[in-house]
Symmetry: C2
Subunit: 261 residues, 2 copies
DNA sequence: TCCTTTTGCGTATGCCATACGCGTTACTGC
DNA sequence: GCAGTAACGCGTATGGCATACGCAAAAGGA
């Protein structure tokens, strides 16, 4: 039962081992010509330039001037590379200023969500990477921890804290994914976002039946579809609703505490 | 400028044309041996049995006793098949009982979201299909319309109605996607959900540093991780928070109306 | 110095979507 | 009834993909 890593215990998934930097450098063979860091950086560059779909083992190797198969000396499968790319794209969270100034949970959560959103928007391709079960990479954990800190003084129970974090995290992801889908459609059809919106509105007007779809018909008449800065607006709207809901939850928790105290 | 469809106007994307049944049966050649419906049904069956990854043109053709290439007489590309599969999986919405009994927007939205969730949970593979821009398929539109109807008497403005619908739709998708990821992980590792949760908790305990991650450490100590029926609980929790937020929005809208009246 | 281990990588396998073209079929206009 | 035409089924070919396997070269440990 010889341990591979210094930390002891059972065997981690290969991708986690790599993400936490627990790989042991073997003392025997020739010097590695590449490194995990360089490979991940190259893959990230490809994804940023040409989308996640352009990330193939061959393409990444080419970018590094190496052969396709040499990558497999550093990465056990493409899925592992995906995990490391995602981890690199999101990066560690910056300190929350709202936590230092004691501005309260609402400001802290807002700042936290906005920071997360910014990372996603800077790396929209990362949203296309399929998640495999619950996250356990260093940066996801750091973001989770920071979310918990934002709720430090909220008075919520531990379970509720995680649930709120999860809820907001998923909301941020959803909004970014919508943005990503939109931009993908725009690129695929080679048009501007405005043209896409107009085209969509025209399509709807053709397909929607006023009898069967009175609500949508009304929406089309009101001209709601042609909203500018849609993504930013929807994000702010959603955060507002979400935080109001959390506020109600916190108030209820406080009332219950007072009652039971 | 001869029109292909009866409805007139410019050319729709092929997948939309198919979804709305606007394909014109050509009067010339031999009788088709297959049909879009049969192809989509076969593809859905494959996805249900072996996951979306198992859906290849070859596999679907095999299931139908036809050759791979014959499918391309009915479907212009695999993406189109995906759209039709998604549309078939979600299906049209059933009438909302809360709308008939006049139970109010909150009950209606709750029923609407639960129905949507049920469809997704019955076809988890459908969540893996990448969305291409804003939806315009018959069933997505029908669900959208129904959501608008649920908010009929809410007093919200048209723009807010759509935003709320979008917010809740995305939440339902997120929760279902988490479930799907979880079940994928469970299947991939050949273990029970309980074993997966336990394994994840063990992994976290090994990787989390009490100094750098005090919040998570506390969570682990409280034993929050080993929650049963996690998915159901999180869904109810999220819906509660969301609806409380919407309630605040509606109240504010009503107040504003009273003031400005 | 020899042996073990690890490196880079060429080759091969098997899957995939799909372009192209051919022979066949069935309807339409004459 | 017959020619023309258009849609059918599908065999074949192309190019891309992840990745298993094995070999030769490199480099540290004995």
């Amino acid at each position: 039962m010889t341990e591979k890593n210094g930390s002891g215990g059972g065997d981690l998934p290969a991708s986690l081992e790599a993400a936490w930097g627990l790989r042991d450098r073997p003392a025997k063979g020739p010097k590695p010509g590449l490194s995990l860091e360089r490979i991940v950086a190259a893959a990230v560059a490809v994804a940023a330039a040409d989308g996640l779909g352009a990330v193939s083992m061959g393409r990444v190797a080419q970018e590094l001037g190496a052969s396709t198969m040499s990558l497999y000396r550093y990465v056990s499968a493409k899925d592992e590379l995906y995990v490391l790319m995602q981890e690199a794209a999101i990066g560690p969270p910056a300190p929350l200023s709202a936590l230092e100034t004691g501005a309260g949970w609402r400001a802290a959560l807002t700042e936290w969500a906005a920071a997360q959103r910014e990372r996603y928007h800077g790396h929209l391709w990362a949203l296309r990477i399929p998640i495999g079960g619950p996250p356990a990479t260093p940066n996801s954990i750091a973001w989770w921890e920071q979310g918990l800190q934002a709720l430090r003084d909220s008075g919520l129970g531990e379970g509720d804290k995680t649930s709120v974090i999860l809820l907001i995290s998923n909301f941020v992801r959803s909004e970014a994914l919508m943005t990503s889908d939109l931009s993908a459609a725009v690129i695929a059809r080679g048009i501007t976002p405005e043209e896409l919106a107009a085209s969509h509105e025209r399509t709807l007007k053709r397909l929607v039946d006023p009898e069967r779809h009175p609500g949508i018909t009304q929406q089309l008449e009101t001209g709601v579809m042609s909203a500018p800065d849609e993504a930013d607006y929807e994000f702010g709207f959603g955060m507002g609703v979400l935080l109001d809901g959390v506020e109600a939850l916190i108030r209820r928790a406080a009332d219950g505490e007072v009652k039971s105290a």
